[in-house]
């Protein structure tokens, strides 16, 4: 109810997408990329959502999109609102919000490194953050296969082998006639 009211208030000022009320103090709203910055500023300055809880991305590989999630918290009202921004996966770029929250620069650095999403103007974006000497697909993208990479890069200790119970039983109980 409360979140719906907030949505309605915002809707008068900004064109908004879908609203998902997760709990009575947490809702997610889809926003177009170009609307995000003014909306964030409005939420921060006029609605009391002054705490940027996190900024992260979800890779919807099938849809060819990245979802950026900006989660804001209003401590006085104990409410959280998550803004979902869908950006194209083939040219992932988003406006930087480091001037709204200095802490956002770190999130943007991480997203740049782990998802390959660009935030022009964000400080130290080019510097390595977590990884070192990484080349290839950014690891948090869905099309990066960590197991395959690990197998290729590192050596497992030999001596491991396993049997499938069903196959093993067929072989043991029926010999070569295992398959009917």
């Amino acid at each position: 109810m409360v979140m719906q009211a907030l949505y309605d208030t915002l809707k008068q000022r900004f064109p908004l997408g879908e609203l998902t009320v997760q709990r009575d103090n947490l809702a997610f709203i889809t926003v177009e990329a170009v609307r995000l910055y003014p909306l964030l500023r409005y939420l921060r300055d006029h609605e009391g959502f002054s705490h940027l809880v996190l900024l992260t991305a979800v890779d919807w590989l099938e849809d060819g999109q990245f979802q950026l999630t900006y989660l804001l918290n209003n401590r006085a009202k104990c409410q959280d609102v998550g803004l979902r921004v869908m950006i194209p996966r083939d040219k992932p770029e988003m406006e930087s919000i480091h001037d709204l929250w200095p802490a956002a620069a770190t999130y943007q650095r991480e997203l740049r490194e782990m998802f390959g999403i660009d935030f022009p103007g964000s400080p130290r974006l080019e510097e390595e953050f977590i990884l070192e000497g990484w080349h290839g697909i950014p690891p948090y993208r869905r099309d990066f296969d960590t197991l395959a990479y690990a197998r290729e890069t590192f050596r497992d200790r030999p001596g491991r082998e396993t049997r499938d119970p069903a196959q093993h039983m067929k072989q043991q109980l029926y010999g070569d006639k295992g398959d009917v």
Partner: protein
């Protein structure tokens, strides 16, 4: 290679011009040498006894296992009475406890720290991660087998091993040292090329010592 590692001319504040070749200046060209045992067996035995009773651990908590070092360093478990203590710098240490998983980024620092340590030096692998990758077996960022990159004397099973298990591991290491079998440093020197090749195969940003001090 990073810009700051390139060879360049630097002007000092008092106006002198000096040439700096960071890689050459920071690292010597030679690989480590194999240290033969002492001339007589009895002396070597004495040495080994002394070595075994003074395990000085490098205080570099490379992974989660480091958390169980604190209880060991403090009165409850008091590892000091076993001749074990922690040192802040590699120069003073002879035992490197790899406390669990190593990301490739840490591996680089670990190798550098290891190479800075004085021989004879020992490595203890703590927990599953050092043995066969542990729970990060499918991670893109952690090594799976510590013995590919460093000579390991003793492994302690667990995730994570308790302080008592660590102590048991150190006691085992002492036995190995006394038996003259803790030849890790020499192994590293002997197979230097092999270790280097393995290290280079996973560390992509090779901004690190090609050779040790």
């Amino acid at each position: 290679m990073k810009e700051e590692l390139l060879k360049r001319i630097v002007k000092t504040p008092d106006g002198q011009e000096i040439e700096v070749d960071p890689l050459l200046d920071y690292y010597c060209q030679e690989g480590p040498t194999v240290q033969p045992p002492a001339y007589t067996a009895i002396i070597e035995k004495l040495f080994n006894w002394a070595r075994s009773e003074s395990l000085w651990i490098l205080g570099f908590g490379t992974g989660c296992g480091a958390i169980e070092m604190r209880p060991l360093m403090t009165p409850r478990f008091d590892a000091y009475r076993y001749g074990i203590q922690w040192r802040p710098t590699p120069r003073q240490s002879n035992l490197f406890v790899i406390s669990g998983y190593l990301s490739t980024k840490t591996l680089k620092r670990v190798i550098r720290s290891y190479e800075q340590m004085q021989g004879p030096k020992y490595v203890v692998g703590l927990g599953s991660c050092t043995i066969n990758g542990g729970m990060y077996w499918d991670s893109y960022n952690t090594i799976k087998r510590l013995d590919d990159y460093l000579p390991v004397d003793v492994y302690i099973a667990g995730c994570m091993p308790r302080p008592e298990a660590l102590l048991a591991g150190f006691e085992e290491l002492k036995k190995i040292i006394r038996a003259g079998k803790a030849e890790g440093a020499n192994l590293y020197a002997k197979n230097f090329e092999w270790y280097k090749a393995n290290q280079k195969s996973v560390i992509h940003d090779w901004d690190m010592p090609d050779y040790n001090w």
